[in-house]
């Protein structure tokens, strides 16, 4: 039986006192916290690049400067999550366990397309008390070309060539639209090499760290190719 979160919250509501002290809505306990940060992923022929900052915050407090938002689920795919860290950990645990079971039963790792669908169903299974997670699943498809799947909190997903989630989403995605797709660009030069795209990604995080208080500290980048996974960590503004 589904228990909508609104019903659950009633149990935690304080009774209004008889005197004229008004209880503000913000006193009500919420199961959700936005630990923020920004993640992005770009798919190119032969590889996929996933990046996430490592700052974990709660409102104006920084809880950690060293918390990863990326999780490698199979040799070929990585989950990048922005939103509530606790829900990210719970979702990651479910996916890791379920994919291990898949590997035992089928004697082969799940393809990226399979993982994408599995993630969608798991998110929708919590349709009435959602995982507060904004996910990107980035991986290599059957031809070892990079693909990115973007999700909303309840599991709707779509394949895209690049995606951004998190507190810096609005800032960063506009830059990627311009740099990677050439939207509204007068000199339409699209980056061709992996190095050019990596430079753009690093620039995007620097830009996000400048203008978004929740993005900063370090940016962690994973590059997945058929040959393996490469990890790069670069510093960002720590203020």
């Amino acid at each position: 039986m589904y228990i909508p979160v609104n019903d659950m919250l009633k149990h935690f509501k304080q009774d209004a006192p008889a005197m004229a002290n008004i209880t503000h809505k913000s006193d009500q306990w919420s199961p959700y916290h936005d630990n923020s940060g920004t993640v992005l992923a770009v798919g190119i022929p032969g590889a996929v690049i996933v990046a996430g900052d490592t700052r974990l915050s709660n409102g104006y407090n920084i809880l950690s400067r060293d918390a990863t938002k990326l999780s490698q689920l199979t040799d070929k795919c990585v989950l990048a999550t922005a939103g509530q860290y606790a829900d990210f950990i719970a979702l990651r645990k479910f996916l890791q366990q379920r994919l291990q079971l898949y590997e035992f039963q089928n004697e082969v790792q799940a393809s990226t397309e399979t993982v994408a669908h599995l993630l969608s169903r798991e998110l929708y299974s919590r349709r009435f008390f959602p995982y507060y997670t904004f996910n990107l699943l980035a991986g290599l498809d059957e031809n070892n070309h990079g693909v990115v799947y973007g999700y909303d909190a309840i599991g709707s997903y779509d394949q895209m060539t690049y995606g951004v989630q998190g507190s810096g989403q609005e800032l960063v995605v506009a830059v990627l639209d311009n740099q990677l797709k050439g939207y509204n660009k007068i000199n339409k030069t699209i980056p061709q090499t992996r190095e050019e795209i990596l430079d753009i990604i690093l620039d995007c995080f620097s830009c996000a760290a400048e203008r978004d208080i929740h993005t900063g500290d370090n940016v962690e980048i994973l590059i997945i190719t058929a040959a393996g996974t490469e990890r790069i960590v670069k510093p960002l503004r720590k203020d």
């Binding site: 919420s30 509530q84 349709r127 507060y132 973007g150 909190a153 599991g155 709707s156 779509d158 609005e170």
Partner: protein, 230 residues
């Protein structure tokens, strides 16, 4: 706080479908918005349930994706167990039954189910209130009012396929022009007695704007009242 972002599921769209002598035409836009942020301009709002059934997506993207995939699973299971395909009427009624069960729970879906079966091509509208309507013309979404204006103006049952495609494209274009929550590209599908065909995978509405303006002898930059000397 947390609640705000969570309730911003992907909404805002224009989808349309109509029945004519060559079958059924479906046309949709491709924009997905989360609040005021455009999360995607490339969404696929026509869901290919199987080779003889199509569903359109409006309202909550996750709800539509999940339940239309559930319907696809059910259709396939029925086909295997019974040796014959599920009719469009039965498939749409199955979905209606599910949505009535979840009535008032917060699901948001305004789908059209269109397909072909032994009795011909049929178009149904299904929504999260449990409504199921059979009809000849439907448009669903925030841009539907604009699309209806164009559709009702030029619709005839005896349209040819090309005329129908042109009408569908034009109606979606006009909706995207005036509705902020609709845009991206136009995708068009045609349902006929042998199943369905994807007619257009994505025509950019920006290109359509200038094409239609040129057909009227205008430039399309909004400055039409200005006298042009050459």
């Amino acid at each position: 706080m947390g609640g705000n972002k969570l309730n911003n599921f992907k909404h805002g769209t224009t989808t349309l479908g109509f029945v004519f002598k060559e079958g059924i035409l479906l046309a949709v836009d491709s924009r997905a918005s989360m609040g005021s942020f455009l999360s995607s301009e490339q969404v696929r709002k026509v869901i290919e349930i199987n080779e003889y059934l199509l569903g359109t997506m409006a309202g909550g993207a996750a709800d539509c994706q999940y339940w239309l995939a559930y319907l696809a699973n059910h259709c396939r299971t029925y086909e295997l167990k019974n040796g014959s395909k599920l009719s469009v009427a039965a498939a749409s009624k199955f979905l209606q039954g599910i949505l009535i069960g979840y009535k008032n729970s917060g699901l948001s879906m305004g789908c059209m189910i269109a397909g072909t079966d032994l009795s011909g091509q049929h178009l149904y509208y299904i929504d999260n209130d449990g409504m199921r309507l059979k009809g000849d013309i439907f448009s669903v979404g925030s841009g539907s009012t604009y699309a209806y204006g164009v559709l009702d103006n030029h619709y005839r049952y005896d349209l040819s396929l090309n005329e129908a495609v042109e009408l569908g494209v034009r109606a979606i274009y006009h909706a995207t022009h005036r509705d902020t929550a609709s845009g991206g590209v136009v995708r068009v599908y045609h349902i006929h007695q042998n199943g369905w065909t994807k007619v257009h995978d994505g025509i950019d509405v920006v290109d359509l704007h200038y094409k239609f303006a040129q057909q009227k002898g205008l430039v399309g930059d909004g400055d039409e009242a200005k006298q042009r000397l050459f």
